[in-house]
């Protein structure tokens, strides 16, 4: 009969297509393929989820307000410089709210002159003219605030991507989620803590001058234990001159390995930042101690030369994320656009420092809001447990079907195998991610998959009991069970789709395998087993059915 042949071809085609789709998942076979076959097939198959192969899944939030703050602070500094250049005496220029700059001056006659400076700051508007007093308030435009926030997250994404590229992780995911979140997935990372530190570090490199004229610095203790920083700051804060701050250098006592902090009085004013760097490399010094040598770009090099020329015999602090790495005395003018960052760090720390300096600073600090880290050993344990459960579950169902439905059970088991082959093929073709709950989804598919055939077989049995001939009992069984099977599949699919839409990570993996498994099952149960029954019927006139 033509009808049977057509369906057999269809089944064969589906089977072959599934097997071919699965090839990229099994790399040993894929690699052995000829070039043309590799070109046709995708190079990726089913990926293992982080819960199975180990790795990091992190969701971070960018501190956008801090980015706005930084931008406004920068404007404050440049406005201060401008006022000095133009020889306009003012009392103070300060950021007084997140987006506000307040300028105070004694001589009210200067007001018009200062107001004219606003032309140089097109991103600000005048918020308050202060009446007859010597006060002006500028405010950052809302559009600019929004632009800063948006570019902050994009810049953070770019920076993190750069760092991860240089760190070397296979198939990392770095993407934006919603308005201000960044998702980072690093599969198979062996040293999660190091990777996290590398990503999270703001890596804002600043060169600042030490305030050596100030006598207060002599009162500071020479060194303090590592957790007493806040105490020192609060103790000496009131005595600090305006424009100064206390920063600490990390130091390690060689004999005991204990960490200390050395306090310094540093001028707040930033001489140069790390965004003028063109390269950063690790070198080894004469005592086998690693340091990072940095190269400035042309503009940075000139600037650095000017700064060092102006400050010979003074001490300059190399500050990274508000921690001093070193505070060397400038011996002479440094031209050539090169400098060194020395400090107490290991080779690996020096390496990571070079990476973050090359990749650039984050525009604002990051806050980790979700962090899932799975060690590689747990991943393997989970795979082992999942595979074991799948095999036992499959064996139990297959045995049950054969014992309960005899030859018909064997046919149902064939459909089950076809179901699983198609499912794996489909997952591979979609380059889906297999998670531990995903494995549970496959196991469930085994149990639910045979249900369709159970419904059909029970109906056939009923028809046979009613006295129908084998042939018509089979047809009636399939016909009458059809709607019930569709109904039961659709209800499970509805929840599966809801889970897919609103689940994340492992849950999504479960939803994918469940939905695919159910959909494929509809096909294998209705087409797959029927064609075998028809085939049996066609060859020999079946008098009794083994069911």
């Amino acid at each position: 009969m033509k009808k049977v042949a057509g369906r057999l071809w269809l089944l064969g085609l589906v089977m072959v297509a599934s097997l071919v789709s699965f090839v990229p998942t099994y790399q040993p076979v894929y690699q052995a393929l000829p070039v043309w076959a590799k070109a046709v097939l995708p190079n990726k198959g089913i990926a293992l989820g982080l819960d199975l192969q180990g790795g990091i899944h992190m969701v971070m939030e960018v501190d956008e307000d801090r980015a706005v703050e930084i931008a406004v602070d920068r404007s404050v500094t440049s406005l201060q410089d401008l006022l000095v250049d133009k020889k306009i005496p003012v009392e103070s220029v300060k950021r007084t709210a997140l987006t506000q700059i307040t300028i105070q001056f004694q001589n009210v006659d200067l007001k018009a002159e200062i107001q004219k400076l606003l032309d140089d700051y097109p991103t600000f508007t005048e918020k308050d003219t202060g009446g007859t007093s010597g006060t002006l308030v500028w405010e950052l435009r809302d559009t600019e605030t929004a632009r800063i926030k948006d570019s902050t997250i994009n810049q953070a994404l770019e920076t993190i991507r750069n760092r991860i590229d240089q760190f070397g992780v296979a198939e990392p995911v770095v993407q934006r989620q919603g308005l201000k979140q960044i998702v980072v997935q690093l599969p198979g990372v062996k040293d999660p803590k190091r990777a996290k530190d590398l990503i999270k570090e703001t890596a804002l490199l600043e060169f600042k001058m030490l305030d050596e004229d100030n006598q207060m610095r002599l009162e500071l203790p020479a060194r303090i234990p590592r957790d007493k920083e806040a105490e020192i700051v609060s103790q000496f804060e009131s005595q600090l001159p305006e424009g100064d701050q206390i920063l600490f250098e990390r130091s390690i006592e060689k004999e005991t390995g204990r960490e200390y902090r050395i306090p310094y009085v540093v001028k707040k004013r930033v001489m140069l930042t790390g965004d003028v760097l063109s390269d950063a490399r690790v070198s080894i010094g004469q005592f086998n101690d690693p340091y990072v040598s940095i190269t400035f770009d042309a503009k940075g090099g000139q600037e650095f030369e000017r700064i060092t020329a102006d400050n010979v015999k003074k001490r300059m602090a190399v500050v990274l994320d508000n921690t001093i790495y070193s505070a060397p005395v400038i011996q002479e003018r440094i031209s050539g656009g090169r400098a060194q960052i020395t400090g107490t760090f290991s080779t690996q720390e020096a390496n990571d420092l070079a990476i973050v300096l090359r990749a650039g600073a984050l525009p604002a600090p990051l806050k980790i809001v979700q962090d899932l880290t799975v060690g590689p050993s747990l991943g393997q344990d989970s795979i082992d447990a999942g595979v074991k459960a799948t095999i036992i579950a499959g064996a139990m169902v297959v045995m049950f079907m054969v014992v309960y439905y005899r030859l018909s059970g064997v046919i149902a088991n064939c459909a089950l195998v076809l179901n699983l082959v198609c499912l794996m093929g489909a997952l591979s073709a979609l380059t889906a991610t297999l998670t531990l709950p995903g494995i549970a989804g496959i196991v469930l598919t085994i149990g639910m998959g045979v249900d369709s055939n159970v419904l059909i077989f029970e109906r056939i049995r009923e028809e046979l009991r009613g006295g129908k001939a084998v042939r018509s009992a089979i047809d009636a069984g399939y016909d009458k069970a059809l709607l019930t099977i569709v109904d039961s599949h659709v209800t499970t699919l509805i929840t599966g789709v809801a889970l897919f839409l609103f689940g994340t990570g492992p849950i999504k993996g479960f939803a994918v395998t469940l939905c695919l498994g159910i959909a494929i099952n509809l096909f294998t149960a209705l087409v797959g087993t029927k064609v075998i029954f028809d085939l049996l019927n066609q060859r020999t006139k079946v008098e009794t059915l083994s069911i």
Partner: protein, 305 residues
Amino acid sequence: MLEILGKTNIDFMGKRKIAFAFSSVMVLLGLIAVVQIARGAANLGIDFSGGTAVQLKFEQPIKIDEARKILESSGLGNAELQEFGQDNKLLIRVKTSTTIEEKTAETVIDVFKTKFSSNGFVVDSSTEIGPTIGKKLQEDALIAIVISFIGIILYVAARFELRFGVAAALATFHDVLAVLGAFYALDKEITVLIVTALLTLAGYSLTDTVIVFDRIRENLKTRRRETEEATINTAVNQVLSRTIVTSLTVVLVLIPLTLVGGDVLHDFSLALLGGVIFGTYSSVFVASPLLLLWPGRSGRLLSRG
């Protein structure tokens, strides 16, 4: 022909009072669980509540009391400890509503490294979830639940008449609440994975109900002389063996998944297992009798056909 049940003739409808009583208790327990979850008084997983979980795998067996003392002395007195016997695994959970910037996971690992130095360990996994994410997951779970239920009710109402749809949806609610109530009573942790299991069982438990309803509808058309109670009873008896066998095949895969599927899947499979069993029970003892409580116009269940 091997059969679990031969031709049966059990008066299921006659036992509906006992069934309703039992189901009411289970539903009540489930509702209590829902209220407690809403109040934040239930044992919510850290994925919902926010907090830190660290799983360590030690080389030698650990004394859980000692571990607890050490954590307490390090200011982590609110940590919950759970042991996984055979592998020397220890799960430490700290629920905090504060941000994760405090690095609880690192602290826990440091504590064991310094004070348990004789017993080496590897970090199997560490999870830190900030309160905003927990809240987001709660919302997402709620949306998924609402969408699922609306979808199911609409589909069943479209395929059957409204009263069948409502009865099926109520039976499904019953299954989900019963399992949730049982988990609450057993003080099991309600995690995202458990909610997933509850939703899945909502979809699956309908299967059995649909099987029975299909037959009831078929019989209502062909056996017009019988009382409704008798018609429903006959239908339930007719499909009883397939109701049981379809559930049995799923139970057969869930048992190994519960027993050897690993720690992560254990409670998930257990919830599904409970769901399948309750689902089978409810299709016979809840969904079908519910039809009797709400007779249609002129006492008929079917308005057409």
